[in-house]
Symmetry: C2
Subunit: 219 residues, 2 copies
């Protein structure tokens, strides 16, 4: 299957997992940077290949086969992220960009080899779960967005759900990384902002960031 198809299926998968669950062609088109017409076109083709269910004007739904393909690509992406992160001193953003390309040119053999080399990790450097070779995610995600946390409670950062360079630069500067501890000092619910204490620094985050930083309650 082509790169275009893999990315299309992956986009549907990712969009389906997100808050605003819209997997209509326009949304996928926006994600991929192609025209709406191209997305509709591709949707029809993928339906013929039994990768998605397509009905005019409806949401695009992955079939089992389509989901499997998406998870296979996601697996390769996250394994590359984990490997590049371990070996090299590159920014998370750079690592993401490289993985975005490499994921499509990686045999199952190589993916499995990378996985084994890394000790079959369950999470990538963003805290995102890595599907196993069968395309299953076996971990249970109990994390919540920073925007939904409670004042006075301490959390550990579990996921940074983004691929934006500015965001990652900000995180790197402020110690916001996978595994680190944050104390939520104040929720400004009216203004949708969250004040946290991290590395003895107080910072105030708006919803753009608190909705993509996920945490777990610290035990």
């Amino acid at each position: 299957m082509s790169v275009a198809i893999e990315n299309f299926v992956k986009a549907i998968y990712k969009n389906g997992k997100r808050n605003q669950n819209d997997t209509k062609p326009g949304n996928i088109a926006k994600e991929l940077g192609i025209s709406n017409a191209a997305a509709t076109d591709m949707a029809k083709k993928l339906a013929l290949k039994n990768l998605i269910d397509y009905e005019k004007y409806q949401e695009l739904k992955l079939t089992d086969k389509g989901t499997k393909m998406a998870l296979n690509v996601v697996r390769k992406h996250r394994l590359w992220e984990a490997l590049l992160f371990k070996l090299f001193d590159l920014s998370l953003h750079d690592i993401h960009r490289e993985a975005e390309l490499l994921e499509h040119q990686t045999s199952d053999l190589l993916a499995n080899t990378i996985s084994e080399y890394l000790g079959n990790p369950k999470f990538d450097p963003h805290g995102d779960p890595i599907p196993n070779a069968k395309g299953e995610i076996t971990t249970i995600d109990t994390s919540i967005a920073l925007s939904n946390t409670q004042e006075g409670q301490t959390y550990t950062i579990s996921r940074l759900m983004s691929d934006d360079k500015e965001f990652f630069d900000f995180c790197a500067q402020n110690g916001l990384k996978y595994g680190n501890t944050v104390l939520v000092t104040k929720q400004f619910s009216k203004n949708k902002m969250t004040q946290i204490l991290i590395n003895n620094n107080t910072i105030l985050l708006n919803e753009d960031f608190t909705s993509i930083i996920y945490v777990n309650e610290k035990i």
Copy 2:
């Protein structure tokens, strides 16, 4: 530039380096598994991009720009080979196949990062020289084909110039690998065969193999 273009330019480069110096479209077509017509077509396009000089019925000649592109791809290929060889226990043939795909999806940044990680190696696991970031090969190759060696002389294996699975399997089974020592016990010049002693085993090789196994005189 596209994968097709990178592979085309690479094929001209490799063919130009070889014994039978034929870089006419038919030869490139054979190398790439495409039709002669497609190769002629591509040749014209690349001439417009100033990557090759093209004259009807003549050999295809890389311009400086084309050579630079070819060497950049070759560099990435060989760096991947070196990295995969170091990290994983895969066969040389598998490593070659993976590198063949990854080479086209590797930024210069990642290539340089891999190179640095490996200590800027000058050779890949086949003994092939790795061009530097400027696209220069700074090493001098003094090696000769096993078919041109002298009876009674001891050599070290410097290059295994192939991408054929059977060949690599044979090499792996018989200790024919980069750096190992061989004693040439007999040259059967009439039959174009070479008898060698390696790891205390005597083996007899025909020209198919002795022309692609390169060695240096052992000092």
